[in-house]
């Protein structure tokens, strides 16, 4: 149970504060981190509860000198669960012994809901939408207990315009939405054009040793679906999951060997609430009635046979005590017809760097003194290509005996395929009551692979 929710900016000023339970803060008050300013009545009663918890958090976490030691901070026996989004802090406060995972999930959900309403979570957006946020906080938490938090359902009765004049029909619809047996979809949805979009979004993570040995690699992926379908459609989703393909291929041996190569082993996967898990367990088929609009159908993780889109080969040579020569080669490792985008290589430099000369074959490279790194950006790069950068780094002589720790070279990119090798084989739609068939539905599939933490040590 959550006692209160606060949103701060990076200076520690409170942008939003909503207190659900009285118990929080009464002890934080004892800690007297910030004495509440006396003359104001509001500070003394209801206000003091909140203010002290608020101030305690600012002093102990946002303004703390050291790095954050834990996302759960205990101040005067009150637990603060905090999450940072760009430079905004969200904190859930409680005095109870709660499930930490649940509280964080709730905060993430809160962020998702806010993002669905007004996009990026930034100070400006929060200030501009603060009425809306209070409205949302009112709906998704009551007395500190999470209530309905589905964006789809919320959007039917909290609209950005605020005032929504409701006809009788709409009203009853909302009620049925809010009550509905299937919580995620209401009856009677109609579209002129039945369309659906499937996005396979993956983030590939890599940790590589200087010798080019993969220390750890994994892909965490999501299949996001946007559905604009009429009625109550039954959907069936198929992908090149190894287990399914092996099961089907049992009859024809040669097909197994043919498709076996392209199938992938999924370490573990989880589904949206709408997927019938019993069917997945027994037949490993994914069937569901989708919510209207955008939702995350499944989330998965793979660790085997990952296609690493880029290979980074670093070469660092120390020439004397005042010079460093760095050469980095990147190789793209995918079909030549595909194009990778937004490539950025970040080569860390020592703290005592005085000057840098960079030569790169492609793209633009710049030494950013404030970030202690050379940032090399390439707009586009086709597959099976290679590019290199070489830099001479001048160092100031220091008497600091500390050896430079050589942080790893990190990389960012976006590629139009799934590094895990996942392929959507089909997505069938059946709607028994309305007369449209699977063929009438327009389907779009898109694959995007992004870099997660993609590091090569040097």
């Amino acid at each position: 149970m959550i006692g209160g929710l606060f949103i701060y900016n990076h200076k520690g000023e409170v942008l939003i504060s909503r207190v659900y339970r009285d118990d929080i803060g009464s002890q934080a008050a004892d800690s007297a981190v910030f004495s509440s300013s006396g003359p104001f009545l509001g500070e003394r009663l209801g206000g003091s509860v909140r203010r002290n918890a608020v101030d305690a958090f600012r002093v102990n976490v946002i303004h703390a000198r050291q790095q954050v030691r834990s996302p759960v901070t205990n101040i005067a026996r009150t637990s603060f669960f905090h999450v940072k989004r760009s430079n905004i802090w969200l904190a859930a406060v409680t005095k109870q012994n709660v499930n930490a995972a649940m509280v964080f999930e709730f905060l993430y959900k809160m962020c998702d809901v806010m993002a669905a309403y007004f996009g990026k979570i930034s100070e400006e957006n929060i200030k501009n939408n603060f009425v809306l946020i209070y409205e949302l906080l009112d709906e998704i938490l009551d007395f500190g207990y999470p209530q309905n938090s589905e964006t789809g359902a919320l959007k039917t009765f909290i609209t950005q315009q605020g005032i929504k004049s409701q006809t009788k029909e709409e009203q009853s619809q909302i009620t049925s939405q809010v009550t509905g047996q299937i919580g995620w979809r209401r009856e009677g949805i109609k579209y002129r054009r039945n369309e659906l979009f499937l996005d396979v979004l993956e983030s590939v993570n890599l940790l590589m040793s200087p010798q080019g040995q993969v220390l750890s690699a994994h892909v965490s992926g999501r299949v996001v679906m946007k559905s604009y379908l009429s009625g109550m459609p039954e959907c069936k989703f198929g992908m090149n999951d190894k287990i399914v393909i092996e099961k089907q291929g049992k009859g024809t041996a040669d097909e197994t060997s043919k498709s076996g190569k392209q199938s992938i082993a999924i370490d573990d996967c989880t589904f949206h609430q709408c997927v019938r898990l019993s069917k997945f367990d027994s037949e490993r088929s994914i069937s569901f009635i989708p919510p209207d609009g955008e939702f995350e159908l499944m989330r998965y993780r793979t660790t085997k046979d990952i296609i690493l889109p880029f290979r980074v080969i670093p070469l660092v040579r120390e020439v004397g005590r005042t010079k460093l020569e760095v050469k980095v080669v990147i190789k793209s490792n995918f079909k030549p017809s595909l194009l990778a985008q937004k490539i950025e290589v970040r080569i860390p430099t020592p703290l005592n760097t005085s000057g840098v000369q960079v030569i790169c074959m492609k793209g633009k490279a710049k030494y950013k003194a404030s970030e202690n790194a050379i940032v090399w950006k390439i707009k586009r790069m086709a597959g099976m290509k290679e590019s290199q950068i070489s830099a001479e780094i001048e160092l100031l002589p220091t008497n600091d005996k500390k050896k430079w720790a050589r942080p790893p070279i990190s990389m960012n990119f976006e590629v139009p395929f799934a590094p895990s090798g996942l392929k959507v084989r089909y997505l069938k739609v059946f709607e028994p009551k309305l007369n449209y068939s699977d063929h009438d539905v327009i389907k779009w599939v898109r694959y995007i692979g992004r870099s997660g933490i993609y590091e090569t040590r040097c």
Partner: protein, 739 residues
């Protein structure tokens, strides 16, 4: 900050709110109200415009209504008389045709924290419970809990509880979950909502319809349910199996906990469950949501305590990435340290060695300590790595390495030789107190193996005047005296100088005392010094104490998925201890009213009642004074039914205890006077079925414990257990009040 000049702001806003032109223009009106709320958020006192805000609540604009209600909920306790004016509007809204308006009004009304509001909200809540819109029912159900909270200590309303129990069958999933939450709060005194077989099965069937918050909550409530037979237990486990693979980590953890607790008598099932959640947990550990990842890592550590090899083959998952936040790195290092085995030790050490030179001194030190931990099993490799680290000659590394060496030499004497060879030269790179102490201790205890030990110590003696830490000086005294025993010729002179300094010039009393003590000890004779100072130089058996052997799963299962693994057991104990003391405060819990509330239990609950007529229903009869003779006779004729030891520290007031026991209807037959050692007391109590309890309390002077022996004239474990829990609560409370 807007703390200043608030009066002007209030005045201005007041004017704006009263302005008929603004009131006429919906948008402008709302803007002014928004400003009020904004100032309120910033901490400005806005109670001055209460009257005007109440007026603003009479509008058709829902958003405006919401804002005004938010404002009222904040300031109502300050202006109860004015708030009553708003009640009228709220009551009217409670019968609005629009369910959203009804729900909003009801929710706001229940959140007005002011005295006297109960009488107004009772009827709307009851209406709300029977509303046809589930949105209103959800609000009304939680409203019951809010109302109960307002009353504080008031009686539980039986009819209301019955109504809530029957709403557990509501078709809306959120209403169901809210009912559980609400009942839990209302029945807190009686131990929370009762989960009997029909309710448990009903909840199990509804599980898949709930959202993730509901699922997590219900899993938590189900912990309370005890399946009757093994068959039922396994049915439940099968039913809940899919939740181990839920997309929400919170639900996964909740399900895991439930499995571990339900299967507490089947260790192989527990192990199997932990194997099955390995995947989801690992996924959470490498997820992008860092905070969740942190929580998952904390739980992985918890599991490793019982199953050390559980994650060993996945050790690479716990390698740190450069850009991860500090708290995740620290957790990962701890995990790595715990999952090391023969196969991966090489790679893990290689990895940890890399962290030791990290830019963040904190992280580097954590990594070095981790290597020190691994060194207890894989001594040679680790000592070699640590020795190499000394070569870097960096202050923050050297000091931690030396501290690690100190602990290591004590636990693994076989590495003494290697450590002694590595030490020379370290003294140049140590500045902090902890590091110096460790180095000096090593030089003192193993000085005979380190050729230049006396010279290093001599440097310290030379600079003792400028030394800032008294602890270092103390350590230096002891070390030098020890070294003097093995290498007298080299040390005699400087020992004299040091003792002179400590006795004559030192300001710190502890150091001076230590100096004087050693001086007098030396006067007695060298044999006496040897007898006292030549303690053992190592003690490997301590290692067992340091890291206790594998703990059984059951020892932490009840802490799983709470804050305990996140904070660590010790830290949590201090937090919750203080909280407990706060709660119990001056008044004692009304433990004697443990009796289950008969009429409050709904139909489906009756069955359970019949099967276990006395489960939890312990009613002690007041004023059942026994004569001392009768007590003695009965005491001698009975066997001890239960014996237990409770912690007890410090002073003791028999009067307080006697009074406290009286409150729960336990009579004192006889007790020793205060301060007597050992202290004894004889107590008696009788419940409504005539079962007699005789108790002996024994407080031994040497150990800080209270021993309790209970005898019973009828052997009934059920009542015995509830009686003991009453007794424990009372004694625990007294203990807490005292401390």
């Amino acid at each position: 900050m807007p703390y200043l000049g608030s009066e002007d702001v209030v005045k201005e806003l007041k004017k704006a709110l009263c302005n008929p032109h603004i009131q006429g223009d919906r948008l402008r009106y709302r803007n002014v109200i928004q400003r009020v709320i904004r100032y309120m958020t910033q901490g400005l006192d806005m109670s001055g415009v209460f009257m005007e805000m109440v007026k603003a609540s009479a509008t058709v604009d829902i958003v405006q209504k919401k804002l005004v209600y938010l404002y009222m909920c904040t300031y109502a306790p300050l202006k109860p008389d004015l708030a009553l004016l708003a009640i009228n509007t709220l009551c009217k809204d409670c019968s609005d045709p629009n369910p959203m308006v009804r729900g909003l009004a009801l929710r706001s009304m229940c959140s007005l924290r002011m005295p006297g509001v109960q009488e107004y909200i009772q009827q709307p809540i009851l209406n709300g419970l029977r509303d046809k819109a589930s949105y209103v029912r959800r609000v009304a159900v939680l409203g019951c809990a809010k109302m109960h909270n307002l009353h504080g200590d008031s009686e539980v309303d039986g009819a209301l509880v019955n109504e809530l129990y029957s709403l557990l069958r509501d078709q809306d999933p959120i209403v169901v979950v809210n009912c559980l939450r609400s009942l839990e709060e209302i029945l807190k005194q009686e131990g929370g909502v009762v989960i009997n077989k029909p309710i448990a099965h009903h909840l199990l069937n509804r599980m898949s319809k709930l959202d993730q918050w509901g699922q997590a909550e219900v899993l938590n409530f189900l912990l309370r349910y005890q399946p009757r037979s093994e068959e039922e237990l396994f049915d439940i486990l099968n039913l809940l199996d899919s939740f181990l693979k839920s997309s929400s980590p919170g639900v996964v953890m909740g399900a895991t906990k439930l499995f571990l607790i339900l299967a507490k008598k089947f260790p192989h099932v527990q192990t199997d469950v932990l194997v099955r959640v390995k995947g989801p947990l690992l996924a959470a550990c490498s997820s992008e949501s860092r905070e969740l990842c942190f929580v998952a890592l904390c739980h992985v550590r918890q599991i490793l305590h019982s199953l050390p090899g559980h994650f060993s083959s996945h050790y690479k998952k716990f390698f740190c990435s450069y850009s991860e936040p500090h708290y995740i790195k620290l957790q990962k290092v701890e995990v790595l340290c715990e999952l090391v085995n023969d196969e991966n030790v090489q790679q893990v050490l290689e990895e940890l060695r890399g962290y030791c030179t990290d830019v963040s001194a904190d992280f580097a030190q954590a990594a070095i300590f981790a290597i020190g931990g691994i060194a207890r099993t894989y001594t040679d490799q680790c000592v070699q790595i640590l020795t190499e680290l000394l070569g870097l000659r960096q202050e923050h590394i050297t000091t931690v390495v030396v501290q690690t060496f100190r602990d290591l030499v004590w636990l693994c004497p076989q590495c003494t030789e290697a450590v002694c060879q590595a030490l020379p030269g370290c003294e140049e790179n140590i500045q902090d107190s902890e590091g110096k102490q460790a180095l000096i201790w090593l030089l003192g205890v193993h000085g005979e193996r380190i050729p230049n030990a006396p010279y290093v110590l001599e440097d310290f003696v030379e600079n003792v005047k400028s030394e800032t830490f008294p602890a270092v000086k103390m350590e230096l005294l002891t070390a030098l005296l020890r070294l003097f025993l093995s290498r007298p010729a080299e040390c005699q002179d400087m020992l004299g100088r040091l003792l002179y300094y400590c006795i004559e010039e030192e300001k710190d009393m502890a150091v001076r005392d230590r100096g004087l003590f050693y001086y007098r000890l030396l006067l007695v004779g060298i044999d006496e010094v040897k007898r006292i100072l030549c303690s053992p130089k190592s003690d490997p058996t301590l290692g067992l104490l340091e890291d206790p052997a594998e703990r059984p799963v059951n020892s932490w299962a009840s802490d799983f998925n709470t804050l305990v693994p996140v904070y660590g057991k010790a830290h949590w104990a201090t937090i919750s201890k203080c909280q407990g003391a706060e709660r119990c405060g001056p008044e004692l819990p009304k433990t004697s009213s443990f009796a289950a509330s008969g009429p409050l239990i709904p139909e489906d609950n009756k069955e359970r009642e019949q099967e276990f007529p006395d489960s939890g229903a312990l009613m002690l009869v007041p004023n059942r004074q026994l004569t001392a003779e009768y007590f003695e006779k009965t005491w001698l004729s009975l066997k001890v039914a239960h014996q237990q030891v409770l912690p007890w520290r410090g002073e003791f007031h028999p009067d307080t205890l006697q009074m406290a026991l009286q409150v729960v209807n336990i009579q004192t037959i006889a007790m020793s006077r205060a301060g007597t050692r050992p202290w004894k007391a004889y107590l008696s109590a009788q419940d409504d079925t005539g079962c007699l309890f005789l108790i002996e309390l024994l407080l031994e002077p040497e150990n800080s414990e209270m021993q309790i022996s209970v005898k019973q004239n009828e052997a009934r474990t059920e009542t015995l257990n509830s009686f003991i829990s009453v007794l424990e609560t009372v004694i625990g409370t007294i203990e807490e009040i005292k401390s």
